[in-house]
Homo-oligomer: 115 residues x 3
């Protein structure tokens, strides 16, 4: 069988799954009551912590699907993103504006990273 | 070249593609005329059959993108999902509410699974 | 560490990332002022050029997420797609209609391909 490692498994989801040298995870901000800026800064901290947990780091992002349900948040998101991504290590990225499962969230990230 | 295996190839898509120890597939319910519950239960059966076809099983889900075009279906989806996923084997999961290509469908799943 | 290769790296994103025998990339048309047909034909040419750049080709598509913000473009997209994909090599594919980050774009593709 595959060497599949799960982190933070609940009935509904795992915080991260690692297999074949890649880590897969999805983040929403822990505090959806925060301002857009608070939520974006918080989710970036969560991504860094998750990467560290699975033995990776911010230079190893492969692909990020950015879900921003409020299109007006995009300029702020890009400003904070550009300052956050280490120069020379940007992932491929798709940004769309779908409605998210929980109404308060301003951002959700679907991430693939190398280990 | 890569060892890429395709299942159920048509002009437009393959039912599944396996490469590098992972299987990739997308499901919509075979019967979009069913109730939300019927469609969710059907798509879960289809996922299990697809996993079996590609030499995997329900303990090997890595990542699932859940598309639920009708937000009001989420509580039912979660109830059925929680009962369906084998304890200790939940994938990472992102759920959004985009409009799907075919109007009748209540659910679409984009799946990555280990073989 | 992983053998991660980035193509076309900017502050914000990479044109493509290759790791573990797979290439990941996202395309939008270079000319969003074109007609839907122009944009779809252009993005297909861009995908072929990107595949060539990373050492792959159109027979190696694994998964494609199709974002079509204008649902009325789907029949045209499918007609051009069916003529474009080499017979026997279709990827798995999910098509949704989310709002894209830039208003003029008629299509965005999130692609995983084998090398």
């Amino acid at each position: 069988m595959s060497n599949l490692i799960r982190y933070g498994v609940t009935k509904r989801w795992s915080d991260a799954v690692v297999v074949g040298g890649l880590g897969y995870f999805v983040e929403v901000p822990d505090h959806p009551e925060g301002s857009p800026r608070d939520q974006i800064e918080e989710i970036f901290r969560q991504v860094e912590a998750r990467l560290q947990q699975i033995g990776s780091d911010l230079t190893q992002l492969v692909q990020v699907l950015v879900y921003l349900p409020f299109p007006e948040d995009l300029p702020l998101f890009n400003e904070l993103w550009d300052a956050w991504i280490p120069m020379g290590h940007a992932p491929c990225r798709a940004c769309t504006h779908p409605q998210l499962a929980a109404p308060g969230y301003r951002v959700e990230l679907v991430i693939t990273a190398a280990i």
